[in-house]
Symmetry: C2
Subunit: 429 residues, 2 copies
């Protein structure tokens, strides 16, 4: 048990640098608690001329990524370089060489999970990715191990800190989307190009992974209906508050009959729901099942330190399994996904319309909802000169029916504009 | 991989019955997700004449507990009978026979953890107890695996649903302790003899286990300062609310210098703290560390179904490890505990005094605090006839100093009574 385990790192950014500092600086504490000693043998980087986030004078060799994978002194490969390539092929090569792999790469796992997991299973080595979703929040292991025996029904996640920070600022400081985004960039919560975050793409990868682990059926990112926060208007956040809702970007993975649906979109979350209180860059995952009722996990969803903690937990786990000399058995077997199109999923809508303030308008709008089979839960109207803002919250109906109703508004002459549409988080159906 | 795994059950109460129903009724779903097939071979009960919580017509044999352990067709032993004996010796016998053991028994793990864990390590078999703390909330595995590389600083837990239900009812419905307890009994949230819950003993076992796993240093239940909720007065809950606090029974595991302190007592929790919002019988664990900042886990802390989910997750994990044919490596190595006496721990106090309403009383009380080295944060006084309620909230000072100050009040003639003392949850120090 006491031999030193060689770590090969792919990527030398914030997470990689933090991990190296922890493996070196906390080696005694880790050894005393786990009985394991680690040594970072090689650090592979794409561009050898770029400066590193950490000091490599400790005897670590910065090198080409392929050399890390091939080095016989590297027992475990840790991939924190991100992106689909070369990360994907490097991980595959490491697994094929019989080396356990730890990765924080949600984009890659969402895109090539089945292939990589199959390679790991074939070789009987662990492929762990606790850091891929929820950063420092332990969520992958609880889902795939502790809750393996639960027939989970729905998972709701605030899994992107950038967008939650922006929406929180819009809610609490009353600023516009553009102001909140600028602030997020200034504070380092948003990238210079924030597209992956604000478009919902990052959250979609994470929601796909959560769905796959929870339901044991692999869902790819292309199966995820994705809508970002770019169109969220401060006015709707304010109206939402009046109605008892907080606007959040929610990733939802839900069983619908014998299939599953996964989606990411802004949602009006009832203030009394535990996710409504998740503020700033914090992430949270809310899990619903028949036996556990509901579980909430929350914590820091990103950042070098929390992510490094998750990676380190996986490294320790992989080392433990590897040293046990076992052919590691798969944690979850995935069956083919039966993805239910979003159009068939029951949703509830908040719709804000700009209408001519004259009699009969509401009757026409209510008529359009009725014809589409959507029943109205509440209506609120506020006149502004000759125009009026009309806000309607519907009961559950198929997403397609909600869309049909709203499309029908375009042929109502008194409707000036469908200003916004935000889904309302309901109980699981 | 495809062979059937024989389960031997010790105990046939609520959790045992639920587990059998799930293993039988959901066997297909479990097999499809995990690739594992389970068969409950024998059910050991202490009193064969008592009726079972479940139907044993499925070919299961209800028998003496020792026969379960000895049966060669039993691959994994699941102990859900509770109590120290015979559970402890049965588990030890199973481990010695090289069988993985799953238990939900927090009392036993807290009392005999090191001995049982050592036996499991010697035999290279898993001893798993996810259900022992937090019922259906995955907390043991995240602490001992995912967070193994984090230098955790403090854990705060609401780990007893009965007492949280009682305190929540006192807070929300304004009832007395006795009324809330009677209601909890009527609803099945409290046992006919609620001593283990209301005295804090149950929470102390769980806090000891959390501390041991978090800090890698074994803390026994006798090391835990324990104070229950029997003396919590509705008046202090009301005053607490005025000051922005919610009264909760909090289990605390904290690093103090190079040692640890573990304690369970009622605490005034600031309303903005995530634990303040944990209502009813829900449990929650709040984990603090330098890298993860803070994590919150919440969910159902007790009940047959959530507990069975946690047990089932452990059974699946143990089966996976066992089938891998490995000598299972220990998850955590425990070092000797350096338990810091509570007297030396910095605490903050809320003190309610009944005093004669005349000039100079406050000066004498403030003087007593000052002499003990405790500084006062806020004071509030309300006159009732010739008497006054005086409420003082202090800053951090050693628990011993707080006690010394309050003891000194007894020699102040104007102090009629020290009506109550409740510690105030502060930031980690």
């Amino acid at each position: 048990m006491e031999r030193t385990i060689g770590i090969g790192l792919l990527g030398a950014g914030t997470v990689g640098g933090t991990l190296v500092r922890r493996l070196v600086g906390e080696s005694e504490a880790i050894a005393s608690k786990t009985g394991l000693t680690f040594d970072v043998r090689k650090v592979g980087v794409r561009d050898l001329s770029r400066p590193r986030e950490f000091d490599v004078t400790e005897g670590m060799l910065t090198t080409e990524p392929t050399e890390v994978v091939d080095d016989p002194s590297v027992d475990i490969v840790v991939e924190v370089m991100g992106g689909l390539e070369p990360a994907g092929d490097l991980i595959l090569a490491a697994l094929e060489a019989g080396k356990p792999v730890i990765t924080a790469n949600k984009e890659l796992i969402a895109a090539r999970g089945p292939e990589l997991i199959a390679a790991a299973e074939r070789k009987g080595v662990p492929l762990l990715f606790e850091a891929a979703v929820g950063g420092g929040i332990p969520i992958i292991r609880p889902l795939s191990e502790t809750l393996a025996g639960e027939h989970l029904e729905r998972i709701l996640g605030i899994v992107n800190g950038t967008t939650n920070y922006i929406l929180s600022q819009m809610t609490e400081a009353g600023v516009t989307y553009e102001e909140a985004l600028a602030e997020a960039k200034a504070l380092g919560y948003a990238e210079p190009d924030p597209t992956a975050d604000v478009s919902g793409a990052d959250a979609a990868s994470k929601a796909a992974i959560l769905a796959s682990l929870a339901f044991g059926t692999w869902v790819g990112p292309s199966d995820v209906y994705t809508e970002g926060i770019e169109a969220v208007d401060a006015m709707d956040i304010a109206f939402g508050a009046d109605f008892g809702y907080v606007v959040k970007l929610i990733g939802t993975a839900e069983r619908i009959g014998s299939g599953v649906n996964v989606r990411v979109h802004p949602a009006m979350v009832p203030v009394e729901h535990p996710l409504a209180g998740i503020r700033g860059a914090t992430n949270a995952v809310f899990i619903e099942g028949p036996s556990i009722d509901s579980l909430l996990f929350s914590g820091p969803g990103a950042g070098g330190e929390p992510t490094a903690t998750a990676v380190l937990g996986d490294v320790i786990d992989a080392a433990r399994e590897t040293l046990a000399g076992a052919q590691v058995a798969p944690r979850i077997r995935f069956s083919a996904a039966d993805v239910v199109p979003f159009e068939q999923v029951p949703t509830r809508w908040y719709v804000r319309l700009l209408v001519d303030d004259k009699p009969g308008v509401l009757a026409k709008i209510a008529g359009a909802f009725g014809e589409a089979g959507v029943s109205i839960r509440s209506v609120w109207q506020e006149g502004v000169d000759s125009e009026a803002a009309l806000i309607i919250v519907t009961h559950h109906a198929a997403e397609a029916s909600q869309r049909r109703a709203v499309e029908a508004f375009e042929s109502i002459p008194d409707v000036i504009e469908v200003a916004s549409v935000i889904r309302v988080l309901g109980d699981r159906v």
